[in-house]
Symmetry: D2
Subunit: 356 residues, 4 copies
């Protein structure tokens, strides 16, 4: 697969916050080449650099800035598209693309819980991708939709997944402190968050609870059986730009000490690591030993933003252990996760070779 | 007690962050009159307004600004002192004052867990004050020490206390998002907290866990029997100036629904309310119905900063209910709580009438 | 005028950020009574408390919360309206109201620079109100429009106005550090301002330069002659909620030292003070002596938010003196200024007594 | 000079904020190799990684973390030292090192204004280094001290320097909005700066005014003649982590339009560029065309943090032109500037070849 000529890909919703992250991460990707950028009608027909309200800390990649933005219609010159579309339009547009033969790697919430849609974290449940042929058959699609998790669910799942595999989970309690970039741009008004905490994010807790169970569940023939541990989530918004902090307590089926959990995390490698996928972090879960780490401003960009950064692992008076985990919400929790899923699909040979 | 001539009081550590809050809250108090300000040797001998690094949003009360600051020695012209002393010196100095006949209402951590020291929230466990005669006797003190809780423990206890009395608590899980004012001045470096979360506050979790159990425990003869429910705390520092947010989950001995909990809170009144103490909030726990409240920047100063502000009460998949509570950390969690305790002691007649 | 029965007033744009400030300031006004609230069609017909997204730190005034919101049409039961309308609609709607006989006290930018529209700071140029009869005559209006200045221009003008009257101004240089509340709600995205400075606010510098000259100019028969000193402005947005900080340098016609400037400010009183208008601050310009004050978070709410707070007055190597001034942008720079103007109109007897 | 074996260097004050930046920038330097780390007595004798309170967003460079920290005494195994010492000790210690034969590249303020001490921005006044032999002779030193400018002065000077060379400066007015990292760690308390502006930084304005004149002045035989244009500075602290924003207005001897200024900046190259020094930015001054840029959070790390980033160049009603400039205060304004100066000294052959 990893030939000299790279696979052309497109980005849907390319001017948005997640779209910009796709642009950055894909601009120097060894397998994929950004050939198409699609956005709303208002932007189409113009150079990307002229219409994007670029809010990243590195410049627009030269070559991508000069691409002409197209409308989000399934007539793009590529067969893989990454979707950073807003939920208000993602449902229908992604269906249009999948129906027309595109493999859609979506960051939108719309299809995630669909009964035949895989919701994938490449280190944890890449076997869920095996439902794709059935998805294509039952829906009459030539393409397919593969989704990645909500940003908070992704960080949580990546940290509890290894524990679940090793010790079995019975209960998970999580309180999130989420960065404002998770809400896109313009997103959270500064009036709401400067010097403040908003102890509520609409729909977030439900997503964390249900998506985590789906990801760590089983693909059982033609349906997903969710994991049967209970999850309770409380979501807060805080004045941080990038990086979700989550305070997690877990109860195991088979008791494990903090030390055993740490060893489990440090040894954990998933198929994404075994296959040495380009976007896969060397170590999916990194454990900090400092008493006051990880911290979003200092640590979020370490390890390429693709690892779950765990700290403060200790016994819990109510559960078995508790800890804090930090993850990059727009990389591990969004664009990076989508790209890793696409790499897995390509590497597994699910994406028709002739199309690449 | 509430005569025309007010009771003279002193403030130990008057120039610090908590000391300044004492000054503000006592400057127009109907029972107490600030007669003495004491601080470090460096400040003593000067006018308060000349040595204090005043960091409050209202001006220094005129009359108090003109007081001469004294050293923290038990030769102040008053019999009640409020202590905002730093923990590095509070232990010994407060003992000196109590030994010399002063009633010390202390916000410092040093004596809180002492076996004969009451740790009081006036709405919840004012009967713990009854240990004072024994404290005086066994220690040979003419005065006494009464402590109030750690800021986070105070807010937590005020919200779970009514539930414990009505339904019995079996387990309490709390994750805090704490304001920087809790660390005093200069306190938290801006380098650490701007655009950041620090998922650790030294010693805080232990205090929350143990103090909550002491407050909601029983005074059993000559000793305190801590409440026997388990508490698990995770403490975070966030970029908020005033107001601690806490995400709480509780399990009851006798099941109660969110609606029953809300009714319990709305009906709850403690002895501080029944006695109509000047600093007692009309309603100790206020429940918000908006989906995204309470928020520290908008709500922390409502109701005089003395109520626990509860919101988002809902069922919990793991515990019985979960909710968020906000409290003013330097009022309800510090100076205001001390003053309310002093009012209770005076009203109960424990403080020798002749001394007032 | 100051009879027992208060004058009924209305608020246009009552649900917006400025509208909410009008509600707060007018809720306990001794002369005015809020009888009418008007907003967009979407809100009309509902109780104010049901449709307003209340973002103030004190609760909605009880009585006003229960008013039914109406549409912004000139059939309100009052003859004075305060306009917090958005500039996109204020121009036309305010004309409609003035034409229909209402006195409109507007915070919108649309009419400010109109050749027969007074732009008034009640301490400085209340004589500009004398153009109103001519405005009514030439436009065929029964009512009138009175505007107040842009928030930054208001703070600047209030601080340089007394100097101009005493020493004459030749040149004014100002660099602003403006709070996010100046942009309303949702206003500035948190993505743009968290840990950041935006060195640009669209249209702001032009407003500061031209409005300042109009305010400090002369009403010369039927036209305004702008003051002839030059003004240069640079506007920045910073991560502050309320309070604009401005660094000002001025050159005088008649030299004055920092001490003379300070004395000028401390002695300055305008007609608003002489008439003892309810919203007039006792001292329009307050001078701080501390080396590092004023600061928005600590000082903005002092003196009712209606004074210009000056500090760091010192000689300037390029101009004559330089200083920093802080003003409350949504009180002195918006709603409070409008209300003070209305008080002046009523006190001057310009507003027909029979209508009150 | 640029041989395979790199020149060993030491860092004084290696555990502090500037010291950490030196460590980061030197860890992969092509000419210099960090051989010695020196800090306070308290830290000496331990591994760097064990004593440093590392506050950077990238990890401690592996090899440097394993160095043993020494005391700041002139017995280090190198001949070039970079000083990030605190001003309270830098004066004497730097003298000790210079006296003992070390070339000291200092970021401390202590020696900057010394009559025989060069204060150098490598693009602007590298000829000031020619005073070094005289410095050595008159002071009897084998080594030398070379200083770089205060962070705000550095950014200002780099932006006005090219204009001065091309058009001559008559007057410069600057208002700064400075990041908290300029104050080191712990530095600015969060209580002072969260949601706030502090319109004062002790000693900063004097440094900006005098250092700018020295840098842009002439080395005239054995003394520096300061530039004779006047500078007026107002310094503010804002809630930004890294990157100083400065609003600048300038008056020229020979008139120049904004367009001519922009062309001047874009064409400007100094000796550091001509010699292609490793730390020299390709373009010392970069001009942004977007109306609202540069912004610290988005732009400060672009171009390696070594360029002055200019925007909003426009005519000024009072001066000739005005603009905004952003610079990285701990790179261009501190550690990076020192390193560039050292490169210049080495490249010029001033540093004895035998010592390298």
């Amino acid at each position: 697969m990893k030939t000299v000529s790279r696979i052309p890909v497109g980005i849907l919703g390319a001017t948005g916050a997640v779209g910009q992250k796709f642009v950055l991460l894909l601009s120097s990707h060894p397998w994929f080449e950004v050939r198409e950028l699609a956005a709303s009608e208002r932007s189409s027909g113009n150079l990307y650099r002229e219409v994007v309200n670029w809010k990243q800390t590195t410049p627009i990649p030269e070559a991508i800035g000069d691409l002409v933005v197209k409308e989000c219609r399934p007539d793009l010159d590529c067969k893989i598209v990454f979707s950073g579309l807003d939920a208000s339009v993602a449902g229908e547009l992604e269906t249009d693309f999948a129906s027309a033969g595109y493999w859609v790697f979506s960051n939108a919430k719309n299809h995630r819980m669909g009964p035949d849609i895989p919701l994938v974290i490449a280190e944890l449940n890449s076997e869920h991708l095996d439902i794709s042929p059935q998805q294509q058959k039952s829906r009459g699609w030539d393409g397919a939709i593969v989704t990645n998790a909500n940003c908070s669910a992704a960080v949580l799942a990546l940290s509890i997944g290894p524990l679940h595999k090793s010790f079995g989970l019975k209960a998970v309690d999580v309180v999130t402190l989420q960065a404002i970039s998770g809400a896109g741009y313009p997103g959270v008004p500064s009036w709401d968050i400067l010097g403040n905490v908003v102890p509520f994010i609409s729909g977030e807790e439900e997503k964390i609870e249900s998506e985590t169970q789906k990801i760590l569940g089983q693909l059982d023939g033609d349906r997903f059986r969710p994991a049967d541990f209970a999850v309770s989530a409380h979501a807060n918004r805080v004045a941080v730009v990038e990086g979700h902090v989550e305070c997690v307590s877990v109860r195991f089926t088979n008791k494990a000490s903090p030390e055993e959990a740490i060893q489990c995390w440090q040894e954990f490698r998933g198929p994404a690591q075994e296959l040495n996928l380009p976007t896969a972090p060397k170590q999916p879960v990194v454990v900090f030993s400092e008493p006051d780490r990880p911290q979003p401003r200092l640590d979020v960009n370490k390890f390429g933003g693709m690892s779950a950064l765990v700290g403060r692992v200790r016994p819990c008076p109510l559960f078995d252990i508790k800890y804090v985990v930090l993850g990059h919400n727009t990389i591990r929790g969004a664009a990076g996760a989508s790209i890793l899923n696409a790499e897995m699909v390509v590497e597994k040979g699910m994406f028709p070779a002739g199309q690449a």
